[in-house]
């Protein structure tokens, strides 16, 4: 064993190569290819790609639909992630306390997350139906949730919160349970109440994990596609069209691979920036 390790130490390149090749093929090549495509005029139904320089990006910059999609995406991300973390944290703290039926409760909370997104979205579409939907029935309203330019996005956010909060709750619950009970016992002996224990024990110890949860959820929400696509298809009047939906429609419906790739590159850079910010925050939190 140690001889093997020694040999690896002598010739690391040969041993790293397989992983590096796989990574290059499945990650690096597509990224570079999309970057290249974003610099071309290229329609699938037209001729071979021709170099366009930054023309696609100039068009992107002046494209009202792009800024609309970016605004929708940011709004969706900020509101849904904030709600998911707030509600998820609440669930995690509750589920960490001993009570009768805790084990089945933990399983039940996970259910929405276990349902495939497209199925869940279809279900919500029926519930939101303005004619016979259960939500109007329960609220005693006659709102056309998905057909109203103001409500449609919020309807999508509510569905996403329902769907993704279990994920946040589960991770935070694991984090909460890994905090040594002795700390809480000691705090109680010192006369600390529930709020002080949370403020000075739970919060600081949960923070690094919380940031990781935030990275996952923010990137997930920023790339949201299937949930909204099934619910509204981006309508009404593109008020729920996110960047991913826009990119999908340009790439796979209109077959404009040049411009569609430019949108994809824009998404890529947005996600890169978000990640960089979080990684920085994470470093500070762990210091």
């Amino acid at each position: 064993m140690s001889r093997l390790l020694q040999r690896i130490g002598e010739r690391p390149a040969a041993f790293l190569a397989p992983a590096a090749i796989v990574l290059a093929v499945v990650t690096f090549f597509p990224i570079v290819y999309v970057l290249w495509l974003s610099l071309t005029h290229y329609s699938l139904i037209g001729d071979a790609p021709t170099f366009a320089g930054i023309e696609n990006f100039a068009r992107l910059f002046a494209d009202r639909r792009f800024w609309n999609a970016l605004g929708n995406t940011l709004y969706f991300t900020v509101v849904s992630v904030a709600l998911e973390v707030a509600v998820g944290l609440g669930f995690a703290l509750l589920l960490a306390r001993p009570f009768v039926g805790r084990a089945p409760m933990r399983a039940v909370v996970l259910l929405p997350w276990a349902i495939p997104t497209v199925v869940a979205a279809r279900m919500w579409e029926w519930m939101y139906n303005g004619d016979f939907g259960v939500i109007n029935y329960l609220l005693g309203t006659e709102t056309n949730w998905l057909g109203d330019p103001v409500w449609a996005m919020h309807a999508a956010i509510v569905m996403d919160v329902w769907k993704e909060t279990p994920f946040v709750a589960l991770l935070l619950l694991a984090g909460r349970l890994s905090i040594a009970p002795e700390l809480y016992q000691a705090a109680r002996l010192d006369g600390a109440g529930a709020w002080r224990s949370f403020r000075h024990i739970t919060w600081p110890l949960l923070k690094p994990l919380l940031l990781i949860v935030l990275i996952f959820r923010t990137i997930g929400a920023f790339r949201v596609f299937d949930a909204i696509y099934v619910l509204t298809g981006g309508g009404p009047a593109n008020t729920t069209e996110t960047l991913s939906i826009y990119a999908y429609k340009v790439l796979f419906q209109a077959l404009e691979f040049g411009y569609g790739s430019a949108i994809a590159v824009a998404v890529f850079f947005c996600v890169a920036i978000i990640t960089a910010v979080y990684v920085q925050l994470l470093k500070e939190a762990q210091r």
Binding site: L44, I45, N144, G147, D148, T232, G233, E241, F252, L255
Partner: protein
């Protein structure tokens, strides 16, 4: 002598060809119902063309997915299918890309005379035909005969007549909607609104020129925008697609419905609450203009890279023949692309609505026939959606759509 020798060589070549099994693959959307009549049709073709076998392969149900499947495979140069069923709005795009073969020769002068004008237009690109019309569809107006009678209205000929009747009856009857149609942001919305625009004398393209920002279209969009606020249509139309709107009308809760012909048989089922009470008519129009219906439907095209274009052509000819179309119309209720079948006694007795449908199909228009249709449709979808939800005024929406459409049409 020489000629004879060539003839012998030719024959020899052909018989060798015959001896080898030739298989063609037919990609198509799923036919709902008993698969037996369709399978029998394929066997009939094989019996008539010894040596050729047909394998039919079904595509995913969603239209978008079918489009994506074709694009990915044809762009990749796939040769594993020969004949493909194409939506009317894809033909120009696929022809421009060079993915489907020119089939002009498959349509005789008689065939052309038989086909609905819009249907032939939809398969024509650059003056040549790239697909053979198979089934057709057109938007229709369904109305409740009993309700119109009870309240003293005649079936509406014009849009204002429809608006008045819908508003009045919806207000007088309990739990009743007026005019239900498809207003969700999707392809169906484009059909619905284009029908109103055409019946006001408007259009999208004139040749390659964009003519969206016109007084005619303006008037049409004003009308469409007024439907919900004026109580003609319920607010729920802005999320409705075909099926939800059919359910509302089919459960007896709407006076008027715009939908495709498939709804007719469902309304006439014995267990349907509206059975025997439904009338069908061409869509209304504005005074001084003509009724227009959006053409839908499917066409048969041949993969340009097919290994056996002759067998594929024979198959297309067979499938589009009057007898095959008749069989499929009887078995599955698909509306034939050939006009003569609309006076076929057996077909008419099984599906009496075909009579009214023929008028609608004669007045049908194809959506803009351009390789850029998918792009154009996205602009129209969001524009129309903004108008029906009251988010933008018709002026602003049309001006913006005009600019966008001009940019699309100017692309090389």
């Amino acid at each position: 002598m020489l000629v004879a020798a060539f003839a012998i060589v030719g024959c020899g070549g052909e018989s060798r060809e015959d001896a080898r099994e030739r298989t063609i693959v037919f990609k198509h959307f799923r036919l709902f119902g008993d698969p037996a009549p369709f399978a029998a049709l394929l066997r009939e073709f094989e019996a008539r063309h010894p040596g050729i076998r047909v394998r039919a392969e079904t595509l995913p149900a969603a239209s978008d997915e079918q489009h994506q499947f074709y694009v990915i495979n044809l762009r990749g140069g796939a040769r594993d299918f020969d004949v493909l069923a194409l939506d009317v709005i894809w033909v120009a795009e696929f022809a421009r890309a060079g993915w489907i073969a020119d089939v002009t020769a498959l349509l005789s002068a008689d065939d052309r005379a038989e086909l609905f004008t819009a249907s032939l237009e939809a398969v024509t690109y650059d003056g040549r035909q790239y697909a053979v019309p198979w089934f057709v569809d057109a938007g229709l107006l369904y109305y409740r005969r009993d309700l119109l009678e009870r309240h003293g209205f005649a079936p509406p000929r014009t849009w204002p007549e429809l608006a008045t009747a819908a508003r009045t009856i919806a207000a007088r009857e309990p739990d009743m909607h007026g005019f239900v149609w498809q207003g969700r942001q999707y392809e169906g919305l484009v059909c619905n609104v284009l029908e109103v625009m055409w019946s006001a004398g408007g259009d999208v393209l004139d040749g390659d020129r964009v003519v969206l920002d016109s007084p005619e279209n303006h008037r049409a969009l004003e009308f469409v925008q007024s439907l919900v606020p004026q109580g003609v249509s319920p607010a729920l139309v802005t999320t409705a697609t075909e099926e939800p709107s059919r359910h509302i009308f089919g459960s007896g809760r709407a006076v008027f419905l715009r939908n495709w012909p498939y709804a007719w048989t469902l309304f006439e089922r014995p267990d349907s609450p509206v059975s025997g009470k439904v009338g069908v008519a061409p869509l209304p129009h504005f005074e001084g203009h003509e009724s227009a219906a959006a053409l839908g439907g499917w066409n048969l095209a041949i993969n340009a890279r097919s290994r056996d274009p002759d067998a594929a052509a024979a198959f297309v000819r067979f499938m589009a023949s009057p007898s095959a179309q008749r069989t499929l119309a009887l078995a599955y209720g698909y509306n034939p692309a050939r006009r003569q079948l609309y006076s076929d006694p057996e077909l008419l007795s099984a599906q009496p609505h075909l009579e009214a449908l023929r008028d609608a199909l004669d007045a049908a228009r194809s959506r803009p026939v351009t390789p850029r249709y998918a792009q154009l449709s996205q602009v129209l979808q969001s524009t129309f959606s903004a108008v029906v939800t009251g988010l933008e005024s018709p002026e602003d929406a049309l001006a913006a759509a005009q600019r966008e459409a001009e940019r699309i049409m100017a692309e090389p």
